[in-house]
């Protein structure tokens, strides 16, 4: 069966070039970068080249990059690290309502430990409104964390403007840029951020590798104690092959970004428009145009449930994701969709297609050909649809 992968925001295939370089550092150039012999020095050198490549993609200096085991660890390190570096055990944190769980739950953990937490609302398009930031800031605010673009609905946030407000106040500004790095331009200077999270496996790099950008001068305490790797800020034998793969993936992303974004935007809009044209009672979630990630499509298909949609698509070889509770392991549907004001019922019927490098017009046509029949079949089975039809 033909398989169409449309879940690139969950994870991406590793680029063949990246995979090959990783293989070499696994089996041939396998030294521990802390070792002083030639194997170690070879690994160390490649590690530092990778750091440069990662830094370049976001306009940072290499010494401002710390490698981690992924976006989740980088988010945890940013938030727990700022809290841990503070003088007092307490203070005020601000995050947005649509943060990834890695930020949300870490902030909630600190709230349980005695920190105060303000959660910024978003508008119906999933965008943080600037005046809410100014209002939320307090003299004891130590950290503001707002993601660059949301992973579910693709809403790009006004980071530069928020950065300006936060900088004036003096709090540390953290941005989870897992979904934007490599997809749209990210420049830490322009954005005015202090800490920025990246993850390799969202940009055709390996899983289990990420990075935290830490602006020179920003103090954070470390999460992992032990060896003195990463200038004592992140202990543990470096995952050199993974990091080198991440570096390569960043390099490739830099080269391909503009062209790829153009292509993806066309496919994205084809799919968005196609769904709306072919299926009734559909709502597009998130903004349109340039405020939307080039690769994100998110719709709520009323009267049907997300997991059923996914399973049906999967049987046709189409891989997507949903904000349905059934796919999140919790009882509530996506906190992002709820924050945008969707009802539980509508949120349960949401569907995300996230496009990637390999996708083609044929892929989109295939989805558009089959999605309507799937929806029709599920709606025919749905007690809600019948009621709605009757009401009309």
């Amino acid at each position: 069966m033909r398989k169409i992968y449309l879940d690139h925001s969950a994870t991406t295939p590793v680029d063949e070039e990246v995979a090959e370089i990783i293989r070499i550092y696994y089996t041939e150039k396998y030294g521990n970068p802390s070792s002083i012999h030639s194997f170690g020095r070879e690994a160390k050198k490649a590690l530092e080249e990778a750091r440069l490549r990662v830094a370049s993609l976001i306009g940072a200096k290499p010494e401002e990059i710390i490698f981690t085991s992924g976006g989740t660890e980088a988010d945890n390190l940013a938030i727990l690290g700022v809290a841990g570096a503070g003088q007092s055990k307490g203070g005020h944190l601000i995050i947005s309502a649509i943060e990834h769980h890695a930020v949300l739950e870490t902030a909630e953990y600190l709230a349980k430990m005695g920190y105060e937490l303000t959660i910024l609302p978003v508008n119906a398009e999933g965008i943080v409104e600037l005046d809410s930031v100014g209002k939320a800031l307090r003299p004891d605010t130590i950290l503001v964390s707002v993601m660059h673009a949301n992973n579910e609905v693709g809403a790009i946030q006004p980071i530069e403007e928020i950065g300006r407000i936060v900088r004036e106040h003096g709090a540390v500004f953290h941005v989870d840029a897992v979904q934007t790095v490599g997809k749209i331009p990210v420049d830490v200077e322009k954005l005015g951020v202090d800490l920025l999270t990246m993850s390799a496996h969202k940009i055709y790099g390996p899983k289990g590798v990420g990075a935290l950008y830490i602006r020179k001068g920003v103090r954070i305490s470390s999460l992992l104690h032990g060896g003195s790797q990463e200038k004592k800020r992140r202990s543990g034998t470096e995952n050199t092959p993974g990091i080198i793969g991440f570096g390569k993936a960043c390099q490739l992303a830099a080269q391909r970004m503009t062209e790829e974004a153009e292509k993806l935007k066309k496919l994205r809009d084809m799919l968005l428009n196609g769904i709306v044209e072919r299926i009734d009672c559909v709502k597009i979630n998130g903004p349109l145009g340039d405020l939307r990630l080039p690769n994100n499509v998110n719709v709520s298909i009323n009267f049907v449930e997300g997991e059923s949609l996914l399973l049906s698509l999967d049987m046709l070889g189409i891989a997507a994701s949903s904000g349905s509770a059934c796919t999140s392991g919790s009882l509530d549907p996506s906190h992002v969709l709820l924050a945008m004001g969707l009802s539980h019922e509508v949120a349960h019927g949401s569907l995300r297609f996230s496009l990637g490098r390999q996708n083609t017009v044929e892929d989109i046509d295939h989805v558009l050909e089959h999605l309507p029949e799937i929806v029709e079949r599920l709606r025919a089975m749905s007690p809600l649809y019948h009621q709605a039809a009757k009401k009309k």
Partner: protein
């Protein structure tokens, strides 16, 4: 994730639909939590002559609804009342732990339908 049996019932659900002026109708769940099952029964004597369902929900919700209709169609009310969410899950070859307590409501919906039938009959 799901057993083959679940996928079979999800893909080819048995007895989907409504019964106009059914003898009993039962509903469980609510759209908030992402699952609603509605079961329609027609009863003759103490036999479930016809049964149909409509479900809004995940794969497990659809499959449990489907199999429960198959399990009790043509059976007595007593037999139908013996069917529990647990025996439904077993008949499907098991359900993922998370689904056991959130989407496994079909037996409850069936019992609600039978209760509805009794309620209507007692009134008459």
């Amino acid at each position: 994730m799901y057993s083959e049996k679940v996928m079979d019932h999800f893909t080819n659900p048995r007895n989907v639909g409504e019964i106009a002026d059914a003898d009993g109708v039962g509903e469980m769940g609510n759209p908030q939590c992402g699952d609603i099952m509605r079961i329609y029964v027609d009863i003759e004597g103490d036999i479930i002559k016809d049964i149909k369902f409509k479900t809004f929900g995940c794969g497990a919700a659809v499959a449990t609804s489907s199999i429960v209709t198959e399990m009790v169609k043509g059976k007595t009310i007593t037999e139908a009342l013996e069917v529990s969410n647990k025996t439904v899950a077993e008949a499907l070859g098991g359900l993922p732990p998370l689904k056991m307590h959130c989407s496994n409501l079909a037996a409850d919906a069936l019992h609600a339908a039978i209760k509805d039938y009794f309620a209507k009959n007692i009134k008459e």
